[in-house]
């Protein structure tokens, strides 16, 4: 699944660790999501959506 997490994080000048802290997950989890090695659960996807104030489908794209 493709996602724009890395771009959105870079726009805010956040490190992976900083984003991980805001999402209450590990830095490895953020890295795995950014590199497409892990698809987040629905609760985590909602947390990401709320953090960036964007709908989930604007962050994640399942048409890969």
């Amino acid at each position: 699944m493709n996602n724009r997490l890395k771009v959105l994080r870079a726009e805010r000048d956040w490190s992976q660790a900083e984003l991980a802290g805001r999402l209450d997950v590990s830095r490895q989890a953020v890295n795995a999501i950014e590199t497409g090695k892990h698809d987040p659960s629905l609760p985590l996807a909602f947390r990401i959506s709320r953090l960036f104030n964007m709908p989930i489908e604007e962050i994640f794209d399942d048409k890969s």
Binding site: M1, Q28, A32, T35, G36, K37, H38, D39, S64
Partner: protein, 141 residues
């Protein structure tokens, strides 16, 4: 068949598989207590041994489940997912290697039967292999 239906069937298959595995496990633990060919340290009391082993398995299983608190509130989902995937690899690997190892037609005639410590070591090693394989390869689509 829709994707949802396939997923539902996968879940049902997992439920049935784990149900059968639990039943066979408890049955096997109890049945093994009646194995008269094994050397017993204490005088054999098959029914007591069976009852204690099954009760211990159920009790420890519940305690570990409670203490581990493996749910979304308490576990980091990415870590938990690769741990869980690794555990599946570990269980299946241990099952098949032990079957091959204890079979007279396969490895037992050359290696002898595995000790319980070797089986535990096999379980831990294969869990580690599974964990790091998923860690490197990822668990996404």
């Amino acid at each position: 068949m829709t994707v949802a239906t396939k997923r539902d069937r996968q879940m049902l298959k997992a439920d049935i598989s784990f149900g059968l595995m639990g039943a066979f496990g408890i049955f096997g633990l109890a049945l093994d207590s009646f194995d008269a060919t094994r050397e017993a340290i204490a005088p054999p009391q098959p029914w007591l041994t069976a009852a204690v082993v099954v009760a211990l398995a159920v009790l420890i299983g519940f305690i570990v489940t409670k203490v581990a608190s493996i749910d979304r509130q308490h576990s980091e989902e990415y870590t938990f997912q690769i741990m869980a995937n690794g555990a599946v690899v570990s269980v299946v690997t241990t099952l098949f290697v032990t079957l091959a190892w204890t079979s007279d037609f396969l490895l037992s005639r050359w290696l002898g039967d595995p000790t319980s410590a070797q089986i535990i070591a096999l379980l831990m090693a294969s869990w580690s292999i599974g964990f790091f394989t998923y860690r490197i390869r990822g668990v996404g689509e």
